[in-house]
C-alpha cells in the first residue's frame, strides 16, 4: 500500500471496487434460489385449484366446514335471526367496519362463506358460539358476529372471505 493519500483515484481503487461489487452481486444472486425454495412449490400451488360445494344439504341454522388450500372454509346457512343481527349493527361501533351486504353475495344473504382462520394468530374459531352468536376463537378469546366481523378480543380484522361465486342457486365454486 502507498502511504500518500493520492487525490486521484488509482487504477487499483477501481479494481477493488469493481471486484467487491461483482462479489456482492454474486452473493446476492445466490441468495435468491436459497430463499425462493421455501416458497409454496408448484404442486402446492396446483393443489390450490378451485373446488365446488353443493349447498342443498346444508339445513338452515347449520354450518359446515370444507377445506380449500388447506384452509378451513365455513359455509353457514344463516337463520333470519342471524341475518337480522348482522344487519342491525351500528357500523361505527365496529373495530373493522364493513356492512353485512359486502360480506355475502347479492341475493344469497342466507349463505355466508368465510375463511375460518382467526385473524389474530390463525386458530379455527368455533361456529355458533360466543357473545355475538357468531364465532368464538378458543385460543385468545376473539369474538366474531354472525357476519364474521371482529367484535371483541385481540384479532385485528374481520374473518376474511375466500374468492367464490354461485355457479347455480345451490352450488358455489371456491377459488
Amino acid at each position: 500500500m502507498t502511504t500518500a493519500s493520492s487525490a486521484e483515484p488509482t487504477r487499483r481503487d477501481f479494481l477493488y471496487i469493481a471486484t467487491g461489487a461483482v462479489g456482492a452481486i454474486g452473493a446476492a444472486s445466490v441468495l435468491v434460489p436459497l430463499i425462493a425454495q421455501m416458497n409454496p412449490d408448484a404442486s402446492t400451488i396446483a393443489a390450490g385449484a378451485p373446488i365446488d360445494v353443493d349447498l342443498a344439504p346444508i339445513a338452515e341454522g347449520q354450518a359446515i366446514k370444507v377445506f380449500w388450500r388447506g384452509k378451513p372454509i365455513y359455509i353457514n346457512h344463516r337463520t333470519k335471526k342471524e341475518i337480522d343481527e348482522a344487519r342491525n349493527v351500528d357500523l361505527a361501533t365496529l373495530p373493522d367496519p364493513q356492512p353485512d351486504s359486502a360480506r355475502v353475495k347479492e341475493g344469497h344473504a342466507n349463505f355466508q362463506v368465510l375463511i375460518g382462520i382467526c385473524t389474530h394468530l390463525g386458530c379455527i374459531p368455533l361456529a355458533h358460539q360466543g357473545d355475538f352468536d357468531g364465532y368464538f376463537c378458543p385460543c385468545h378469546g376473539s369474538q366474531y358476529d354472525t357476519s364474521g366481523r371482529i367484535r371483541r378480543g385481540p384479532a385485528p380484522a374481520n374473518l376474511p372471505l375466500p374468492p367464490y361465486e354461485f355457479v347455480s342457486d345451490t352450488k358455489i365454486r371456491i377459488g
Binding site: 430463499i35 421455501m38 416458497n39 409454496p40 412449490d41 402446492t44 390450490g48 366446514k65 377445506f67 388450500r69 388447506g70 384452509k71 378451513p72 382462520i117 385473524t119 389474530h120 394468530l121 390463525g122 386458530c123 379455527i124 376463537c137 378458543p138 385460543c139 385468545h140 378469546g141 378480543g153 385481540p154 384479532a155 385485528p156
Partner: protein, 412 residues
C-alpha cells in the same frame, strides 16, 4: 492473576503435537489451570450443567433421528413406534423431551444468577449478549422440536407461532406463506422445521464456544462482584470447579431422572398424543411451560401488532441490560434495594408464567397486564433510576477478605 501452572508436555508425542496443534495446552489452560474466583457458589455450576444438557440433547436427538420420519402422514406414527417398538426408544424420547425442559430451567437459573450478581456489567457485556442470543436460539430450537411429533399441540403451536409474523405490516402475509411453504401449516413446514431443528443445536454449540471464549477473556464474575486482585483470590479450575460442578450436576441429574422415570409426561400436554388435526383447534392451547411468561405478555395486549412487539421486546430488552442498569456495583449483596427488587422481578416472571397457562379472560388478563407493565418497568424505569439513587454498602477490599476470617486473610 496470571494463573497457576502452565502446561508442560511430558511425553515425546505430546511435545511433538504441541508444536503443531497446541490443543492439549489450550484445554489445560482453559479447564485445568484456569483461575476461578475462590468464592464461587453453586449458582455458578449452571454453565457447566447447560453444556452437558446440550450434549445430551444432541446425542438423544441424533439417535431419535435414526427412527423419526418427517412427514405429515408418518411423523406421529414414527414417534409412537419410537415409544413402543424401538429398543429403549421410550427412554431416548423421554430424555430428549424432558431434557428440553431441564435445559430451559438451567438457562433461566443461569440468567437470574447473572442478574443477581451483575454479571452483565462492564466488561462482560458481550458475554451477556451472546447468552441472550443463545436463549433466542434455544427458543427457536425447542419450538421446532415440539412441532416434530405432529400431535395437536405441535400443529397448533406451529400455526400460532408462525402467525406471529403476520403482524408485520405489509409483507406479513407473504412472510408467513414463505415460512409455511404453502397456504397453511403442512408437510413442507414439518420438513423444514426438522431440517432446522437438526441444524440449530450445532449453531448453539458454535455460539457456546464464543460465549466461553468471551468468558475466558474477561474472567468469571463472583458473588462479591469485585475482580480478583491476586492469586490468593483464585483457585485452579481443576480440581476445585470441576468437582463442584460435577457434584451439583449429579444433584441436577437426580431431579432430571425423577422426571424421566416417574413423571415423564408431567411437563407435556395430553393433547399432543392426539394426531394433528387441521380442522379442530384444541379448546385450550398453551405452549410448553418455558415459554409461558412470554406468552402471557403476548396475550396481555389486546392489539395484535403491539402484542407481538411486546413479546419480542421482552426478550430483546435483555440484551440492553448492561446499559439499562446504571449502578457501578455489580453484586446484589451490596445493593440493598436492588436485592429486594430483584426478587420482586423473579416473582413477576413466575407470575407471568402462571398466567400464561390460564385462559385469556377476566381477571387473568388484568393481572397479566399489570405484571407485563412491571416487567418492562423493571428494565426501563427501576434499574436506570436505582443505580443513581441507591446507597450501596461498602465493598470488601478483596475476594479473600470477604470469605476468610480477618486474622487469616493476609496469611493464606
Amino acid at each position: 492473576m496470571s494463573g497457576h501452572a502452565t502446561y508442560q508436555p511430558q511425553s515425546g508425542f505430546m511435545k511433538w503435537m504441541e508444536r503443531r496443534l497446541p490443543i492439549a495446552g489450550l484445554v489445560y489452560s482453559s479447564f485445568v489451570a484456569y483461575p476461578t474466583p475462590r468464592n464461587l457458589n453453586y449458582w455458578w455450576t449452571f454453565g457447566g450443567i447447560l453444556s452437558v444438557m446440550l450434549v445430551i440433547q444432541i446425542i438423544t436427538g441424533i439417535t431419535l433421528a435414526m427412527h423419526y420420519t418427517p412427514h405429515v402422514d408418518l411423523a406421529f406414527k414414527s414417534v409412537e413406534s419410537i415409544m413402543r417398538d424401538v429398543n429403549y426408544g421410550w427412554l431416548l424420547r423421554y430424555v430428549h423431551a424432558n431434557g428440553a425442559s431441564m435445559f430451559f430451567a438451567a438457562a433461566y437459573i443461569h440468567m437470574f444468577r447473572g442478574m443477581y450478581y451483575g454479571s452483565y456489567k462492564d466488561p462482560r457485556e458481550v458475554l451477556w449478549i451472546l447468552g441472550v442470543i443463545l436463549l433466542l436460539l434455544m427458543i427457536a430450537t425447542g419450538f421446532m422440536g415440539y412441532v416434530l411429533p405432529w400431535g395437536q399441540m405441535s400443529f397448533w403451536a406451529a400455526t400460532v407461532i408462525t402467525n406471529l409474523f403476520s403482524a408485520i405490516p405489509v409483507v406479513g402475509e407473504s412472510v408467513v406463506s414463505w415460512l409455511w411453504g404453502g397456504y397453511s401449516v403442512g408437510n413442507p413446514t414439518l420438513q423444514r422445521f426438522y431440517s432446522l431443528h437438526y441444524l440449530l443445536p450445532f449453531v448453539i454449540a458454535g455460539v457456546v464456544v464464543l460465549h466461553v471464549w468471551a468468558l475466558h477473556v474477561v474472567g468469571q464474575n463472583n458473588p462479591t462482584g469485585i475482580d480478583p486482585k491476586t492469586d490468593k483470590d483464585t483457585v485452579p479450575f481443576t480440581p476445585y470447579a470441576t468437582i463442584k460442578d460435577s457434584f451439583f450436576l449429579a444433584l441436577f441429574f437426580i431431579v432430571f431422572s425423577f422426571f424421566i422415570f416417574y413423571m415423564p409426561n408431567f411437563m407435556g400436554h395430553a393433547d399432543n398424543y392426539i394426531p394433528a388435526n387441521p380442522a379442530v383447534t384444541p379448546s385450550h392451547i398453551v405452549p410448553e411451560w418455558y415459554y409461558l411468561p412470554f406468552y402471557a405478555i403476548l396475550r396481555a395486549i389486546p392489539n395484535k401488532l403491539l402484542g407481538v412487539g411486546a413479546l419480542g421486546a421482552s426478550i430483546v430488552i435483555l440484551a440492553f441490560l448492561p446499559w439499562l442498569d446504571t449502578s457501578r456495583v455489580r453484586s446484589a449483596r451490596y445493593r440493598p434495594y436492588f436485592k429486594q427488587l430483584f426478587w420482586v422481578f423473579v416473582a413477576v416472571c413466575i407470575g407471568l408464567g402462571w398466567l400464561g397457562g390460564k385462559p385469556a379472560e377476566g381477571g387473568y388478563v388484568i393481572a397479566s397486564r399489570l405484571l407485563t407493565a412491571y416487567y418492562f418497568a423493571h428494565f426501563l424505569i427501576i434499574l436506570p433510576l436505582l443505580g443513581i439513587f441507591e446507597k450501596t454498602k461498602p465493598l470488601p477490599n478483596s475476594i479473600s477478605e470477604s470469605v476468610l476470617p480477618p486474622t487469616t486473610a493476609g496469611t493464606r
